[in-house]
């Protein structure tokens, strides 16, 4: 189980993502944003952080980096791609997921554990959770306010593509959306940080399911 964790200038949860994959029994390596290929990998993670300092818009510049061509091709072939926090922002900016992440409604950065509900277990990333299972996962972001046009939200709901919802919405996201998947279900973007809750010493293990699902998908 070989995971590529993409590293942009300013990414800072990249090492955390690598650590989480290893803790869960997989192998992970960092891939620098200027590389023109991913190498032989089973899955891709776009980690959290402040790529390019969040300048212009969060994820805007990273989404236009050379490595993204390879990430898009990988997703097109059905490869699993997990975008966490800044990674979710990058996926939206790159057009791999619909909508956009705007500034939190209360205008402050927020770091706290949030209660999530698993809305759909049909994607690989949520397949290891029980339907409507409640989780506690930390968020840490200033621009996690999910927005999409009404028609897009309808589609997401209709197609069961909302993966996670906030039970205590920390940022004003429309429809309490915390994470969504692509049409084919192989790309997931989520604002909360599952990689921060895979070891009990850090206060919880509700994030393990995301990685378990990812690994199972690859084995298949």
């Amino acid at each position: 189980m070989n995971v590529a964790v993409i590293q942009f200038p300013g990414s800072n949860c990249d090492a955390d993502a690598v650590n989480a994959v290893r803790v869960m029994g997989g192998e992970a390596r960092l891939v620098w944003h200027t590389e023109d290929s991913l190498g032989n990998v089973d899955a891709v993670i776009l980690p959290g952080g402040f790529s390019y300092g969040d300048h212009l818009r969060s994820g805007a510049i990273a989404a236009r980096s050379p490595i993204m061509a390879s990430v898009k091709a990988f997703a097109e072939r059905g490869g699993p791609v997990l975008g966490i926090c800044n990674g979710f922002q990058i996926l939206c900016e790159a057009g791999l997921l619909p909508g956009a992440l705007a500034r939190n409604g209360h205008l402050h950065f927020v770091c706290r554990p949030v209660r999530l509900r698993v809305e759909s277990t049909s994607s690989v990333f949520t397949s290891e959770y029980a339907p409507r299972q409640e989780l506690t996962v930390p968020v840490a972001h200033g621009e996690g306010n999910y927005y999409a046009e009404a028609a897009t939200i309808e589609r997401l709901l209709g197609e069961g593509r909302v993966a996670f919802r906030y039970l205590d919405n920390p940022n004003g996201s429309l429809n309490d959306i915390a994470g969504i998947v692509s049409e084919r279900g192989n790309v997931l973007g989520m604002m909360p940080h599952p990689e921060r809750v895979v070891e009990s010493v850090l206060g919880g293990t509700d994030g393990r399911g995301v990685f378990e699902g990812l690994f199972k998908a690859v084995v298949k």
Binding site: P9, G10, N12, C13, A15, D16, N19, A20, W32, G48, G49, F50, Y52, G53, D54, H55, H108, F109, V110, C111, R112, P138, A140, G142, H193, E195, R196, E199, V201, L202, G203
Partner: protein, 583 residues
Amino acid sequence: MTQIASLRDRAATFGLTVEEFDLLVSRIGREPNALEAAIVGAMWSEHCGYKNSRPLFGVFPTTGPQVLQGPGENAGVVDIGDGLGVAFKMESHNHPSAVEPVQGAATGVGGILRDIFAMGARPFAVLDSLRFGDPASARTRFLVNGVVEGISHYGNAIGVPTVGGEVTFHPSYQENPLVNVMALGLLKHEDLAKGTMGAVGNQIVYVGSKTGRDGLGGAVFASADLSDASQADRPAVQVGDPFMEKLLLEATLEAIERGLVAGVQDMGAAGLVSSTCEMAYRAGLGVDMDLDKVPTRETGMVPMELCLSESQERMVLVPVPGLERELIDLLAKWELDVVVIGEVAAHDKYRLFWRGEVVCDLPVSVLNEAPKYTREGVESDEIKAKRERDLSGVPMPEDFSSVLLSLLAHPTIASKRSIFERYDHQVMTNTVLVPGAADAAVLRVKGTAKGVAATSDCNPRFVYLDPYVGAAAAVAEAARNLACVGATPLAITDNLNFGNPHRPDVYYQLQQATKGIGDACRALNTPVTGGNVSLYNQYVEEGRTVAIHPTPTIGMVGVLPNVDERAATAFAKGAHTLYVLGH
């Protein structure tokens, strides 16, 4: 003769007293030019030269088996076993935060982090100790919001968790907020880097942001000394960019790990000069530097501006001879600008060139050996009376419940959740005890069973009432906070925030507080590995000078041999018996 007389007459514009100017003349055997006077003024300032405080540091214990690096380098380092060390230090950014709270606090975080990674340590935690005035005033609310925004913005963006701290409100800080930031970093013993220059012939390399006129708006030089840029073009603030700092951090740590550098130093206040001349002093060598080579962000900058600029996110690296190409390629990967600006020289001078001419030629020792002042301290009668006040006549409250509630509602004691939830306290996935969970922050050390604990403490009212006891109590409080989570205290960093040391009552506070810290550190076996001093924190109100409460903030680090053997403060479920230990 006219030129000499006029420089001496305006010694104050260079930050020197007339006596100091004369001292300089006697030490270099001639009169300085304007640039040299300004450089000495910067190096002999309280901030760089510690004129009024260094003589008092003799009372501090600074050694011990756990001390890998004591005072004198960019940060102190303690051994935590397993071949690992923790670099740590606390710094203040008080005056800039009063001018522009967001950038003042942000650049305070940036500065202390650079000191940590310049040692070869990867920063893994930040604590912030904040003091403000009356919480009801609009100005205080403006400052609190700005400072928290600044620390949040910088710390979160660079990806180092802010895991603890303090917030205190007291009227004496009304015009002089205190922003003390502590940072910790992890290093392998063999990666401990020093801010030295290595050997003669080594190149001096400038890395990071271009140099602008940041911070020069606060300088009071005669217009003749500076360029034609107007006052409006000289910002009084320094603006920080955590994205640039993140690139510098990664590049510097990789360079140190790969053994590519002989010396590393960050550029702080009067950045270019203070960094290079401290490095030269540590090496016992000299420097030849070409100011024309310094990368600039603004046009028309002159030597004085280049030397004294406070532009952020700049480092000085000295490559290992023969490995310059590898270092430059590494820095290029991180898209960092690199320029060779000088060379380590066999002479013992600090020499600067501009357009082919020598514009500064001073002995390195003179720059680094500021005069030391020992003053007379006299306790204030007013404070003595307060301390000795007979409390037996004070009536007891009828309703303790309402007293408790009003104490809990006081902003100094009330929950700080709305502040620390604006800080990412879990990035790097090491935080085991988050803010609010316990009396100290605890972080795990990946790859070992250990934990590191940190706390930042001071009760300024105690120090005001009795500086010796109050300062010792701050050290003791820090040690108790660490013990409560299961950590053994190892060492401290101290951040001394006081008023004007020329005033005997303030100097008394400094004398007694440093003694108290020294004695407490000896008793608790927590040597002082470094620290910071911020003086002249006072303001004038209706003809009266109001100094802040003396505030020696203590940052203490401890180790847990097994991070799983820790305690938090929450009561677990079930009935409990409570014990009180001590008197």
